[in-house]
C-alpha cells in the first residue's frame, strides 16, 4: 500500500495541467494520510528507520558524555551534526570519548569503526547498530 502511493506520487508532477496536479495531489494526500498511520507503524516506520538517524535519547546521552569529557559548559551547542574536532577535541579526546561511550552503553567498538567516528551523529548511529546487534 505504501509503495503504490509512492509510485503514484511520482507520476503526478508529469501531468501538465496545474488544476489536474492539485486534484491528483489532493487525492493522493488523502490516501497517504489514511494509509500511513494504519500500516506505517510497521511498514513505513521500518522502511524509514533504515535511513533514519539514531534515537534522540541516544544522541542526548552521547552529547552529555562529550560535554563531560571536553569540559564544555552546559549551554554550549552540541548537536548531532557537531564534529568532535570543531568542539575542540583532538584524536586522544576522541578515543577517550569512544571509551566512555563503550562503558556507558556496554558495547565494544572495533578499531576501524572507531577511526571513522567524526561527528556526534556517527557515534550515535554506531552505538544504535551495536546495541541492536548485541540484543539480537
Amino acid at each position: 500500500m505504501a509503495s503504490s502511493t509512492g509510485l503514484s506520487l511520482k507520476f503526478s508532477p508529469l501531468s501538465t495541467s496545474f488544476k489536474q496536479n492539485k486534484v491528483l495531489l489532493r487525492g493522493i494526500c488523502n490516501v497517504n494520510s489514511v494509509s500511513l498511520p494504519s500500516r506505517g507503524m510497521r511498514l513505513g516506520s521500518l522502511r524509514l528507520r533504515v535511513s533514519c538517524a539514531a534515537k534522540p535519547e541516544t544522541v542526548d546521552k552521547v552529547c552529555s558524555i562529550v560535554r563531560k569529557q571536553l569540559a564544555l559548559p552546559k549551554d554550549s551547542p552540541v548537536t548531532g551534526e557537531s564534529k568532535f574536532s570543531a568542539l575542540g577535541a583532538d584524536s586522544l579526546d576522541t578515543v577517550e570519548i569512544v571509551m566512555g561511550l563503550e562503558e556507558e552503553f556496554g558495547i565494544s567498538v572495533e578499531e576501524e569503526s572507531a577511526q571513522h567516528i567524526l561527528t556526534v551523529q556517527d557515534a550515535a548511529d554506531l552505538i544504535e547498530k551495536l546495541v541492536e546487534q548485541k540484543s539480537a
Binding site: D90, S91, L92, V95, E96, M99, E111, A114, Q115
Partner: protein
C-alpha cells in the same frame, strides 16, 4: 631503531592501554592506569623528533605488556570487598 610510529599506531596503543585499564579489579590501580596513560600521551603529543617518538612508543608498548600481565594476576587474587568508589549509590 624501528621506523617512527604512525598516528594510527599511537591511537591503537592508547586504546589498548585504556582497555587494559578497564580490566583491573582494583579501583585505585584502574584509575591510576587511566590517569597515567592520559598524562603520558598528552605530554608526548608535542614530540616531533623521530627517535624520541619511537622511544616513547616502545616504552608505551612495554608498559602495555606489563599492564596486561598485572591485570591477569590481579584478577586471580581479586579481593572480595570492593572499593567504596565502585559501589554505586543505591
Amino acid at each position: 631503531m624501528a621506523a617512527a610510529p604512525t598516528r594510527i599506531d599511537v591511537l591503537q596503543l592508547y586504546r589498548s592501554l585504556m582497555r587494559v585499564a578497564r580490566q583491573f579489579c582494583d579501583y585505585n590501580i584502574r584509575e591510576y592506569t587511566k590517569r597515567r596513560t592520559i598524562d603520558a600521551f598528552r605530554d608526548n603529543k608535542i614530540l616531533t623528533n623521530c627517535s624520541q617518538l619511537s622511544a616513547a612508543f616502545s616504552d608505551g608498548k612495554a608498559q602495555l605488556e606489563v599492564a596486561k600481565r598485572r591485570a591477569l594476576v590481579y584478577s586471580l587474587y581479586a579481593p572480595k570487598v570492593k572499593s567504596i568508589m565502585d559501589i554505586k549509590p543505591s
